[in-house]
């Protein structure tokens, strides 16, 4: 990572936790964990509350749908790290790797329901152009998504519009797929807090 403090500036207790994670998972600690545990009162703890509510709070969207949204937002912003990480979580949640790959490859033809497709299109535009308008929202509503579902999707987008920028700006190390697999299992079991 570009800041040494994020790699090795943690306190003794956090470093001991990292050692435990390495032993238990037999994998290196993901850079996102190092980020959220560094001065956690500043960013990690308050952001974790936002992300957990967005990704695991009550919603008409499934966990898989929301992880897929995270992956699509990440791909749109060019954040390879988050795309790989959340593709792995979405694949685990859906138990369907082909569906996730199809969406990331071609949203227009992927085998998903229309409300989700229209929502993902709107999230892509919001991420790419940094704004959307009422017509964009009307298109999502016309496809069958409810206002509540759109708000829930926007919450996911807020979290990953933030995290993706930080992954790129701080230069997260790109680990092998097995590390993202282990991270995905953790996120499906424990969430983001």
């Amino acid at each position: 990572m570009r800041l040494a403090i994020l790699d090795s500036g943690h306190g003794f207790g956090t470093r001991a936790l990292f050692a435990l994670i390495r032993m238990a998972s037999r994998q290196p600690v993901l850079d996102v964990i190092k980020l959220v545990k560094y001065r956690a009162d500043f960013y990690g703890t308050p952001m974790g509350a936002v992300t957990h509510e967005a990704m695991r709070g009550p919603s008409a969207w499934s966990v898989g749908d929301r992880e897929l949204m995270a992956a699509v937002v990440a791909k749109t912003s060019g954040c390879e790290w988050c795309t790989r990480a959340h593709s792995a979580v979405a694949q685990g949640a859906y138990r369907d790797a082909a569906k996730v790959s199809a969406v990331l490859c071609d949203l227009d033809t992927a085998p998903i329901e229309e409300p989700l497709r229209a929502t993902l299109r709107m999230l892509r535009k919001l991420t790419r152009e940094h704004a959307v308008d009422a017509d964009d929202m009307r298109a999502v509503l016309a496809a069958g998504a409810t206002r509540e579902q759109i708000e829930d999707a926007l919450a996911v987008c807020f979290a990953f519009n933030t995290v993706g920028r930080l992954a790129d700006a701080f230069g997260f190390f790109q680990p092998g797929p097995e590390v993202f697999e282990a991270g995905a299992k953790y996120l499906l079991a424990r969430g983001y807090r």
């Binding site: 040494a4 001065r39 308050p46 919603s59 954040c79 509540e148 920028r165 790129d168």
Partner: protein, 110 residues
Amino acid sequence: MSDIRKARKVLVTRILEGGGEASRSQRRAAFDNAETAEPVRTLIHKVALHAHQVTDDDVAAARKSGLNEDQIFELVVCAAIGQANRQHDSALAALAAATGRNEHAPRDSR
């Protein structure tokens, strides 16, 4: 439905108004993508609008300008959250316009 409003407000208040190594005005400028002094302006602008284009040199230049790593950490976090926040507000306003109702104001004030 999920509800991030309270948690989002806590997050934004913490990074802008809580303690930190960067001054509150520096953090606010990063959040607003309104930093004027180089090289920090370039770093903040990239984080907000082209984060995948941030380079080692951008961060090194910020360090050479006199910022320590904790200050850079805080300013980058503020820049990322600030832009995500603007996008979120824009989208909620578009949704309110499309549905003809704004249910945010009353629920925010609870």
